[in-house]
């Protein structure tokens, strides 16, 4: 079981309130991702749940019981840190067994669980090495191994992939998702990378300055962002925003259109602009097009084979049904 609910929790460091009153429900077995720009309070929120920081006010319930005053060890949560936080003087085996040893578990049971975790994580051959002799990805797996042997109520991940190189990050992302499918345990995952959020989450919590901007499934956030911030944060490349006359035509202060919802033509279209930088990814090409009279370029996704070059004139037509409208307070107009 791993159901966590936060009720009106706040956190202040001195006079600075980093998390204003916040409510959040996390259901058992859910994969929840906290995402937001750096300094948005997502790590602080995770540390509040872990018990590594004390809440200034409010209540944290884990499985229906008040856990606000419980020390971290008693919350039955396991955490994977950004730096992995492996114990450098212990072998991999001892690292993984450490929480069991602290729980004074029977030696045979310890061995059984360590062996099981090691085989799940492909660490069997490395059990007698020190963390210093492992690669980044292997260290990451040891940290996860140390978390899973405890059979916790929920896993907390604090930007676990940010120290890995790009290729490995994609692999580990899949491995963690796979792990979640197998264990069916609640996982809370903190990241600043919206790609990780979109690909892994059942539920995304978008945070900005300690405030929850929106909670929802990846596709909900993609299709119906509640405000301009969420719209700009979710999706890659970023949504294009336009104000002024174009927005007024749609009775909005700002309109947003995603790069993938614009059709590009060399002959005719709604907007006319000049191609700037183009980023060729093979399958797709992202063009940065500066429209007539606009200062900011617009990003559009086109087919990888479209023959346009720097300085060419192109015509863009947005898909009217996919235009997002926002009012003067940046909130979505339904």
């Amino acid at each position: 079981m791993g159901q966590i609910s936060l009720k009106q929790i706040t956190k202040s460091f001195g006079d600075v309130q980093v998390i204003p009153p916040l409510d959040l429900e996390i259901k058992d077995g859910e994969f929840v991702v906290f995402v937001g720009p750096s300094g948005c309070g997502k790590s602080t929120l995770l540390r509040l749940i872990a018990g590594l920081e004390d809440v200034t006010s409010g209540v944290i319930d884990i499985d229906g019981a008040d856990a606000t005053a419980l020390p971290p060890a008693k919350r039955r949560l396991a955490m994977v840190f950004q730096s992995y936080a492996l114990y450098p003087h212990m072998s991999v085996r001892k690292n993984i067994a450490f929480p069991l040893r602290m729980a004074k578990m029977d030696k045979a049971e310890q061995d059984r669980r360590v062996t099981a975790a090691a085989s799940v994580l492909n660490l069997t051959d490395y059990l007698d090495r020190r963390p210093g002799q492992l690669s980044g990805g292997q260290r990451q797996r040891v940290a996860i191994g140390r978390a899973i042997v405890r059979e916790p109520a929920a896993f907390l991940f604090d930007e676990p992939l940010s120290n890995l190189d790009a290729a490995l990050r994609v692999n580990m992302r899949l491995e963690i998702s796979e792990l979640h499918q197998n264990l069916k345990t609640t996982m809370i995952y903190v990241t600043h990378d919206q790609v990780e959020a979109m690909t892994m989450a059942d539920k995304i919590v978008v945070l900005q300055s300690g405030v929850i901007e929106q909670v929802g499934s990846p596709l909900e956030l993609y299709h119906t962002p509640r405000n301009k911030f969420v719209a700009g944060f979710i999706g890659s490349p970023k949504m294009n925003f336009m104000t002024g006359a174009e927005a007024a035509k749609h009775d909005a202060a700002t309109i947003g259109i995603r790069p993938e919802h614009i059709t590009t033509s060399t002959t005719d279209g709604l907007w006319k602009g000049v191609v700037g930088v183009s980023e060729h990814l093979g399958s797709d090409t992202f063009l940065h097009v500066t429209l007539e009279g606009a200062s900011e370029p617009i990003t559009v996704r086109v087919d990888g084979e479209l023959p346009v070059h720097h300085g060419d004139t192109v015509f863009l037509t947005p898909d009217e049904s996919k235009i997002h409208r926002f009012d003067a307070n940046d909130l979505r107009i339904a």
């Binding site: 590594l52 971290p72 060890a73 936080a85 114990y87 003087h89 450490f98 602290m102 140390r146």
Partner: protein
């Protein structure tokens, strides 16, 4: 870029320093060895010729030899235990954020800057004097008979004085070690269910093991040669005659250079035996 040419140039340029250091070490060593095989009594006839291993035999068979080894080991061991234990505890304490941290840290380091003779005299006269010392007043305040520190508890007194001097060194090195510990490791162990004492035992102490090794090695080298503290307090009486003090007495008080030199050679051997042992026991912490 180390070509053959630049390498030989480097050797040439390093040569003066190497030769100087080598001479600095070899000349006294050779002189000690030279005198240790001579009967040389400056005030009683001067150089009286070669005597083979006579001095070595006399030095070891003298009744003062084994007690001096014992006193040396007790002082070195006692000071090491006290400074490392208190050093670890003080370092843990100083690592906590607190008001006036900078000043407190300077105060902690201060004893290291006091010269050994001065600090030993201050301890002897201000604290341990059986009539006017602060300890005597404290004892009397509680109605107890003041301790005659220098005669009744001579070895513990000297251990106390020397520990006071070396505690700052240990604290400082261990403090930097604690400060280099990754905070996430402590948090991870906290989440793993380790209470504070176990966090200390399984995470902090292993992290500090290398620093503790360094402290033990460096202190041992210096503590084997403790002299001033004994000279100005007990003068070698009441069982505080260490090996280095014994050598001093043989050379200057008995005016027997040959015998003292033989003692010096024994001191070198003792220091090396201890160094090898220490390297064996704790040196493996310095690997990897």
């Amino acid at each position: 870029m180390a070509t053959q040419h630049s390498r030989s140039a480097a050797r040439l340029m390093m040569a003066p320093a190497v030769i100087l250091l080598l001479g600095w070490m070899l000349v006294p060593l050779t002189m000690t060895l030279y005198f240790s095989f001579k009967k040389y009594l400056p005030l009683r006839g001067g150089d009286l010729g070669w005597v083979g291993f006579d001095n070595y035999v006399r030095f070891v068979t003298s009744s003062a030899f084994w007690p001096s080894i014992y006193a040396t080991l007790i002082i070195v061991g006692g000071v090491l235990v006290i400074t490392v234990t208190l050093g670890v505890l003080l370092a843990l304490l100083l690592d906590r954020p607190m008001w006036g941290q900078g000043i407190v840290r300077i105060l902690v380091i201060a004893p290291f800057f006091v010269m050994p003779t001065v600090s030993a005299l201050v301890w002897k006269n201000m604290f341990m004097d059986p009539i006017n010392g602060l300890f005597a007043h404290l004892w009397k305040f509680f109605g107890a008979e003041p301790v005659q520190w220098m005669s009744q508890a001579s070895l513990p007194s000297i251990i106390m004085i020397v520990s006071w001097q070396w505690l700052p060194f240990a604290t400082l090195i261990l403090l930097t070690a604690i400060q280099s510990l990754d905070g996430e490791q402590l948090e991870a162990s906290e989440m793993d269910g380790a209470p504070p004492l176990k966090r200390f035992w399984f995470i902090i102490l292993p992290h500090m093991s290398r620093a503790i090794t360094v402290v033990i090695l460096i202190q041992t080298i210096f503590l084997l040669a403790v002299f001033a503290e004994i000279f100005v307090t007990t003068g070698g009486a009441f069982g505080t005659k260490t090996l280095s003090y014994l050598i001093f007495q043989r050379v200057l008080e008995s005016q027997n250079i040959g015998l003292g030199s033989a003692g010096g050679v024994y001191a070198i051997i003792l220091a090396n035996i201890i160094a090898i042992f220490l390297m064996r026991i704790v040196g493996k912490n310095l690997d990897n």
